[in-house]
């Protein structure tokens, strides 16, 4: 039984101690999955780190109680705390790509961990490791155990991570966003595994996540956090079914439903940036439209990449990322592209923006043919007409440039506005349009939150006066409430300026809300295409049905209308 009482964590800084979390109470019984939900900055990972004693320096536990069984976790010495880690408390990290040592075999890492905590020989440790991998669901474990982490797929790697956390038979496992980096199919398998381990082995799980759908699916109890404080806590059924705290209600309302389409997303607390702002920028955009919206036609498009060379004399087998794809985006509509990782959806974005050359096939933007990357010069008009919003707002803005310079770049690059003063003015108006304060223009990207940065990225794309916008997972790095804001913004832009949007995502609920038509990609082929309503109401392909059934959703009766 893990008991957390009045926990407070502080980070010393130049201006005195900053309180990261305070008054956190939580009790996790054996066999229980306790969900800890909140948006980024809520302090949920800090709770987990405090329990396992791995707070990032210089953070420290300032008050409260932490007890596991009858052990006082705060009273332990450094050595005792380290011995306890793994032995009684373990942890699962978010990204299986980075949480395993790439230079050691899975066997080395497992055996080492087992031997660190129990006095067994290599043979016994090896046997336990193999048994565990089998239990976790890795086929042919006795052979696979000799592999290095990179030889496993993402989902299998997360299983290995779980096996590592489990191999010492801990009482508590802290799972910090264990499925965020995984595809839906893999996510549901991993969640099932966690549920099973809690039931059969009586392990207490602290499941830290920002995804309420995940909580609804597996957690027994849930604690909602915001700004380092507990907002609401109790049984999952109770908290999500009849939320008492307004924040919980708002958080749930921001989650897009899978089974119906809503007009606008509810937003917990709208950020600054008034309605009716940025009129000048709006006029400028409309002025550039000067006519109808532009569609996109793609016919028999294939993309191949060079494969790994396996023989000296044979040419390497090319890897085909896209197989004869054909589809059409109607002018002024939003086309959703759905697929799991490796389905080729990002390759599609690259080939349309002219970063990758197609092996065969044709592309047409409006009536004009769209040449492949090699034939498409720097000055080709499509370089301006097609713009892109990337997934990660942290790396898609140059951190050494001020926002003003970032926004002015498309204006001079495409020769849209000649005069520097006018460019700056327009950039300021555009910031207004996307809902950012005017003083943002002289700041640097790191001074903004993820959602604000994504707004800047959208503003930059718009300042090129595009006719066709490609959004590659624009909200998957963002919290639900921020996601709702960005999606609302994109919807408005599409409605007001007749923009045509290609919306790439792995998240089915978002597609349902955003797209008019959609295609489902799998291993470079189109599994299903049609209007969004039709696909969701009556999915034809087995694969689409599977994806739909695996997407974690809240039970209908818990949903809150926006």
């Amino acid at each position: 039984m893990l008991v957390i009482k009045d926990l407070a964590v502080k980070f010393p800084s130049r201006f005195g101690d900053v309180t990261a979390i305070e008054d956190v109470d939580m009790t996790i019984a054996p066999g229980e999955i306790h969900g800890l939900v909140g948006e980024s900055g809520a302090g949920k990972s800090t709770v987990g780190a405090a329990v396992i004693g791995l707070l990032p320096t210089p953070g420290y536990v300032a008050g409260g109680e932490l007890t596991l069984g009858d052990t006082d976790l705060r009273a332990l010495s450094r050595e005792e705390a380290h011995r306890l880690r793994g032995d009684r408390i373990s942890m699962i990290f978010q990204d299986p790509q980075t949480s395993l040592n790439p230079l050691m075999t899975v066997e080395d890492q497992l055996v080492e961990t087992i031997q660190a905590h129990s006095d067994v020989g290599y043979e016994a440790a090896h046997k336990r490791a193999v048994d565990l991998l089998e239990e976790i669901g890795i086929e042919n474990a006795s052979a696979r155990i000799k592999s290095y982490p990179h030889q496993f797929s993402g989902g299998m790697r997360q299983r290995v991570v779980i096996a590592l956390a489990l191999c010492t038979d801990p009482e508590v496992i802290i799972a910090d966003e264990p499925t965020t980096a995984l595809d839906v199919a893999v996510q549901s398998q991993v969640l099932e595994l966690i549920r099973r381990l809690a039931d059969t082995r009586g392990i207490a799980f602290m499941l830290i996540t920002h995804d309420i759908g995940v909580i609804a699916q597996v957690a027994d109890r849930v604690t909602v956090m915001r700004h380092g404080k507990v907002m609401e806590s109790g049984e999952t059924r109770q908290v999500l079914g009849a939320p008492e705290h307004p924040y919980t209600r708002a958080l749930m309302a921001a989650v897009p439903p899978l089974d119906r389409r809503i007009e606008r997303f509810a937003i917990p607390e709208p950020e600054a940036g008034g309605a009716g702002a940025g009129e000048a920028a709006e006029r400028w955009l409309l002025e550039g439209v000067g006519g109808a919206a532009t569609g996109l036609r793609v016919l028999d498009l294939s993309v191949q990449f060079a494969g790994t060379r396996t023989s000296l004399f044979k040419k390497p087998e090319p890897f085909t990322a896209l197989h004869d794809i054909s589809f059409e985006v109607r002018p002024g509509s939003i086309m959703g592209v759905v697929g799991e990782s490796g389905s080729g959806k990002s390759t599609l974005a690259k080939v349309l923006t002219g970063l990758v050359s197609p092996a065969s096939g044709q592309m047409h933007l409006g009536d004009a043919p769209l040449p492949g990357a090699k034939q498409r010069g720097r000055g080709h008009p499509s370089r301006q007409l097609i713009q892109m919003v990337f997934q990660d707002p942290y790396s898609s803005l140059n951190s050494r440039h001020r926002i003003g310079a970032i926004l002015a770049e498309p204006l001079w690059l495409y020769g849209l506005v000649q005069e520097a003063g006018a460019r700056r003015e327009l950039a300021a108006q555009m910031l207004d349009l996307v809902g950012l304060p005017a003083d943002a223009i002289d700041k640097y990207p790191h001074q903004f939150s993820g959602g604000q940065r994504q707004r800047i990225a959208v503003a930059r794309a718009l300042l090129a006066r595009p006719r066709f916008l490609i959004c590659d997972e624009p909200t998957s790095a963002l919290d639900v409430s921020i996601q709702a804001e960005i999606l609302n913004l994109l919807k408005d832009l599409q409605a007001n300026f007749g923009l045509t949007i290609l919306f790439i995502t792995h998240n089915l609920t978002v597609v349902r809300q955003m797209a008019d038509d959609m295609i489902v990609l799998r291993r470079g082929r189109i599994e299903e295409a049609g209007s969004t309503e039709a696909v969701f109401e009556a999915p034809q392909a087995e694969y689409t049905q599977k994806l739909l059934s695996l997407t974690p959703v809240m039970p209908r009766e818990w949903q809150i209308a926006g």
């Binding site: 380290h82 990290f93 949480s99 395993l100 230079l103 956390a165 000296l312």
Partner: protein, 324 residues
């Protein structure tokens, strides 16, 4: 794997050809070989005759072909200065330089890697700060000053160690080694230290920076969360990941140590390649300079190849994916 090695070999051949071309151009176009070889009293007819005999009137391509094939056969020509075969001069000097470079590298690794690890794990400790400061002084002072200071203190003032030459050497199968005599080792200490100090600082700072980066990575945090013993955590998990990029730099450095040991060798009158090169420059001994160029290039090529192979040995992700 075989493909990888073959590819690197083919690339190396081209690198060596390019260097051979440079050496040849030096030989052919810097000064006139005939006027270097003959005195003032040689008549113009005789000079022309010599030119014809030496094949200097042949087309450029033919001469270059002859130059490279001679090289491949081990015929490097004769020194203008000593009239000895260049091959003999170079091979007599190589052991001295290689041994010096090797010991210097060893010093830099044996001290540099642990010091790097230590300063990375205790970045704020007094000892770490002291080490960092002292080594910074080590890089800032030019090599020859360090050498002279060492000579002054240990050689002249204390009189503990010899200040020039290789001391006693033993000939093992044509290789003059100073590893087998006490006097040889004593002579080796000061020059190796001088040459190693700079490398040491670089190695240490590189290890430190990489190690600090690795210690922040998810897999180290995960290993800590699993309670992997600290010793294993630092040296098995963290250090091996640290070494991947460090090896490249160390490899290049070792090439540099060999190529630029000139200063140290001249300070300590160390009879190695560097000293030979300096003497050759003084006498415009172009054949020796050309061959020196080729030998050093060959050395760089070999070291780089070894580094690449080490890379593959350390990092399983670079091995060909056989069974997945």
């Amino acid at each position: 794997m075989v493909y990888f090695i073959l590819k690197r070999l083919v690339q190396s051949v081209f690198v060596m050809l390019a260097v051979a071309f440079l050496a040849f151009a030096l030989f052919r176009f810097v000064g006139d070989p005939v006027s270097q070889m003959t005195g003032v009293e040689t008549s113009v007819q005789d000079q022309e005759k010599l030119r014809e005999e030496l094949g200097l009137n042949d087309p450029f391509a033919v001469q270059f072909y002859r130059f490279t094939t001679d090289m491949l056969r081990g015929d490097f020509g004769f020194s203008y200065r000593t009239r000895q075969p260049v091959a003999q001069m170079i091979s007599a000097r190589i052991p001295a330089t290689l041994e010096l470079g090797f010991v210097a590298l060893l010093i830099s690794l044996i001290v540099g890697i642990p010091a790097g690890v230590y300063t990375a794990l205790r970045p704020r400790g007094v000892t770490s700060q002291t080490i960092l400061m002292v080594t910074l002084v080590g890089v800032s002072i030019p090599t020859f000053v360090i050498g002279i200071m060492l000579i002054f203190y240990f050689g002249v003032k204390l009189g503990w160690l010899p200040t020039f030459g290789r001391g006693g050497t033993v000939n093992v199968a044509g290789w003059e080694t100073s590893f087998l005599t006490v006097e040889g080792w004593r002579s080796l200490i000061l020059p190796a230290l001088t040459l190693g100090v700079y490398q040491l600082t670089l190695t240490m700072r590189l290890v430190r920076a990489e190690m600090m980066e690795v210690m922040r990575s998810d897999y180290i945090r995960f290993a800590t969360a699993r309670g992997v013993p600290m010793g294993r955590l630092y040296f098995r998990h963290a250090l091996s990941n640290t070494l991947v990029p460090v090896i490249t730099i160390i490899g290049l450095q070792f090439g540099g140590v060999i190529a630029f040991s000139i200063v140290t060798e001249s300070v300590f009158q160390w009879p190695g390649l560097g000293l030979l090169f300096l003497e050759s420059i003084r006498f415009v001994d172009i054949p020796v300079m050309g061959v020196y160029l080729v030998v050093i290039a060959l050395f760089f090529v070999i070291v780089n190849m070894v580094v690449d192979l080490l890379y593959v040995a350390i990092d399983p992700r670079l091995r060909v994916r056989d069974a997945t």
